[in-house]
């Protein structure tokens, strides 16, 4: 801007508001006005293509999500809901592009007015490429994410506000929006509120105990095997991560057979040797809980073992040597050097472990179906929230309630994880500063 352009007058008459208005009218017009012909044509083609491709679908989708259909059998509410959500997503993407188009028109017009000189075409393309490079890299992944993660999530959340159950099931019947009715039912209808607190408390115990134990065991073994006096490390590590290499559902089912009260190998062989009476692994809730926790530890510790082994190798020897000079005991070294380092380094992954166990449907469902049954409640003695929801909703097709409870579970987990993440982040920053 320091150099006064030759045709300053013409530039000064260039109006950013006009460029903006034109781009609002139809994407690309503002760019044409700015004499960026290629860019303008690209925007125009994009908008035309968008309208031609999606107009009908979006029209149907928006109508569908608002009404969820009006004629039973002809209109399929669930399909309409899906189309509606997809339409909203597509519209949001379109709106984003549109805003970019308008901003671009305005900014360029302003630049032109201020006497900016258009670079040669090749230069311009190169610049555009450099500016948009990070977006080019992340957009494909982002689009995939929207359709694979966000879209199903929106669908599941929407269902919580409908009456989608067996008697309101398409194709024969329509689904309707019911607002917060499902959440009201959750606290007022006996089968839901009766067992909720009991199930929630066991879910928390289960999450905390099983995850903490698997982390503890993983760390303990990692430290032991890391000892420099131990040989055959490679072999030992392979053995210790073996449970990880077998599909979970296979192992859980085999465990389920091994734990059978009368005929399982655990009661027969192991306890037979020690001359202990058979334990009621599958018929007494307490023993089933013990069995479940043990199995989860068996399944879960190898990942943490591998993780901790890696972290231990990255701790520098200096700290330990300094501690040796000071005459620190082994426990002190572990407590003040190893543990903080390991926990600090792996905190986010550990949080993910906790949240995963909170929703660990497979093990509960496959081991004993949430059983044994408990008097006076619809939930079995070992049902966690997610398996209880499954039982209550899929036997009677109460999809709306499944969605409502899932929403609550989701919020609990996400809030917990969010605050934990925040804590680890701030913790980290503090350390980084010190």
């Amino acid at each position: 801007m320091e150099e006064q352009p030759q045709s300053a007058l013409r530039h000064q008459t260039h109006r950013p508001w006009l460029a903006m208005l034109l781009s609002i009218l139809f994407a690309g017009l503002g760019q044409l006005y700015n004499r960026s012909y290629i860019k303008g044509i690209v925007f125009i083609v994009i908008e035309l293509a968008f309208i031609i491709t999606f107009a009908d679908f979006i029209g149907l989708g928006l109508w569908g999500i608002a009404t969820l259909g009006t004629i039973p059998k002809l209109d399929h509410s669930i399909f309409l809901l899906v189309y509606g959500i997809l339409s909203l997503i597509i519209l949001a993407i379109a709106a984003l592009i549109y805003v970019i188009n308008i901003r671009d028109a305005k900014r360029q017009a302003e630049q032109i007015r201020n006497g900016w000189k258009r670079p040669p075409l090749r230069e311009a393309i190169k610049q555009a490429y450099m500016n948009s490079f990070p977006y080019l890299l992340s957009v494909p992944g982002f689009i995939l994410l929207i359709f694979v993660v966000i879209f199903p999530l929106l669908f599941a959340i929407s269902l919580a506000f409908t009456n989608y159950d067996l008697y309101h099931s398409p194709p024969r019947n329509l689904v309707d929006w019911v607002g917060f009715d499902n959440f009201v039912n959750l606290v007022t209808v006996p089968i839901w509120n009766q067992s909720f607190l009991k199930v929630l408390s066991w879910t928390l115990v289960w999450t905390i105990v099983s995850t903490t134990l698997q982390i503890g065991l993983g760390l303990f073994l990692a430290v032991l095997v890391n000892d420099k006096r131990i040989k055959f490390k490679r072999l030992i590590r392979t053995i210790l991560i073996l449970p990880w290499a077998i599909p979970n559902f296979v192992t859980i089912m085999i465990f389920s057979a091994l734990f059978n009260d009368q005929f399982g190998a655990i009661n027969r062989t192991l306890l037979g040797w020690l001359n202990i009476d058979p334990l009621p692994w599958l018929t007494d809730p307490l023993y089933t809980k013990l069995a479940l926790i043990s199995i989860q530890v068996w399944l879960g510790f190898p990942f943490l073992f591998a993780l901790f082994t890696g972290v231990l190798q990255s701790i520098s020897h200096d700290a330990y040597e300094a501690a040796d000079v000071d005459g620190g005991t082994r426990w002190q070294k572990f407590r003040y050097i190893t543990l903080p380092h390991v926990l600090f380094a792996t905190a986010p992954l550990l949080i993910i472990q906790y949240t995963a166990n909170f929703n660990n449907f497979n093990i509960i469902y496959l081991f004993n179906g949430g059983g044994p049954a408990v008097r006076g409640q619809t939930a079995g003695g070992t049902d966690i929230l997610i398996s209880w929801v499954y039982k209550l909703t899929f036997t009677t097709n109460n999809y709306n309630m499944a969605a409502a409870i899932s929403l609550i579970i989701g919020v609990i987990v996400i809030v917990f994880a969010f605050f934990q993440f925040r804590r680890t982040k701030s913790f980290k920053e503090e350390r980084d500063q010190s």
């Binding site: 977006y135 199903p152 290499a245 979970n248 190998a265």
Partner: protein
């Protein structure tokens, strides 16, 4: 002397613990192996070593006209390798952008996705079903692959980004001065440095289709398109015709190659996982 004795006792103690752990690990696995050689179809057996060992279940898997095991194995390998490859491409692209460039919604977006994925997904499957049907990918391996690839991005991009952050930007800058474009910087300089973490991304994404039975059971209808996990799972969920022995035989044939892969990739695995996960 006393000191050395103590040290020896300690080492013995550690080995003792490791041996106990190995027994606990191998005990159920040994039962599974024993079952797969057992006659009949039952999950119950009176001894760990079958009385009349037989290879009939293994033979059945490969030779019976009713068995689709080989097809399932092939499908699984296709899904696993393609989703593994695509995952590496998508993940490293996203992670590179996240680590090396400033742009709108960079960090909060990443954490938001990571959190959103903790949502229980029971009802979400229906949505995916209808969506895949809409775009014509229902009952295809490609549809399954796309969902696997998309679903893994947040966690793995976060891991890889953490790893990339540990690599000094001076390398990039030096290359930039030499006139290298961002793609060349990434492919020629950074990519070789992040192989350990990419090995993990590759491995976990190779494993996922082998272990998951829920998603494919909803998306795939034809038995000839099943992956191993669904196929095997169906052996044991038929109410009146569970076939546990064939199930274990099939499962063992999956577990052995996986265990081998773990063995060979162990080094990468351990170092990559820790470095990536720690710096996110």
């Amino acid at each position: 002397m006393n000191h050395r004795l103590k040290s020896k006792l300690e080492v013995a103690g550690i080995y003792g613990i490791i041996i106990v752990m190995s027994i606990i690990i191998f005990y159920p696995l040994a039962w599974a192996l024993g079952l797969s050689f057992n006659t009949g179809t039952s999950l119950y057996s009176s001894s760990i070593i079958p009385k009349e060992p037989t290879l009939e279940h293994y033979r059945w898997l490969f030779t019976s006209p009713e068995s689709n095991y080989v097809t399932w194995y092939k499908n699984t390998l296709i899904v696993s390798s393609v989703s593994c490859l695509l995952s590496i491409i998508f993940t490293s692209m996203t992670a590179y952008a996240l680590s090396r460039f400033q742009f709108v919604g960079r960090k909060s977006g990443m954490y938001a996705f990571l959190l959103l994925q903790m949502f229980p997904v029971m009802m979400a499957m229906v949505a995916l079903y209808i969506f895949l049907n809409l775009i014509g990918l229902l009952n295809t391996l490609l549809g399954l692959i796309l969902i696997y690839v998309g679903g893994q991005i947040p966690f793995n991009a976060w891991l890889v980004k953490g790893y990339l952050d540990t690599i000094s930007r001076e390398l990039d800058d030096a290359a930039k001065i030499d006139g290298a474009g961002p793609i060349r910087i990434f492919v020629q300089i950074l990519l070789p440095l992040i192989t350990p973490i990419l090995a993990i991304v590759a491995l976990t994404n190779f494993m996922l289709p082998i272990f998951d039975f829920i998603l494919p059971s909803i998306i795939l209808h034809d038995k000839s398109k099943y992956t191993l996990a669904v196929g095997l799972y169906n052996f044991v969920t038929e109410k009146y015709s569970s076939n546990f022995t064939v199930f274990t035989a099939g499962a063992i044939l999956i577990a052995v190659p996986i265990a081998a892969i773990y063995l060979f990739l162990q080094k990468y695995f351990i170092s990559g996982l820790s470095a990536g996960g720690t710096k996110g």
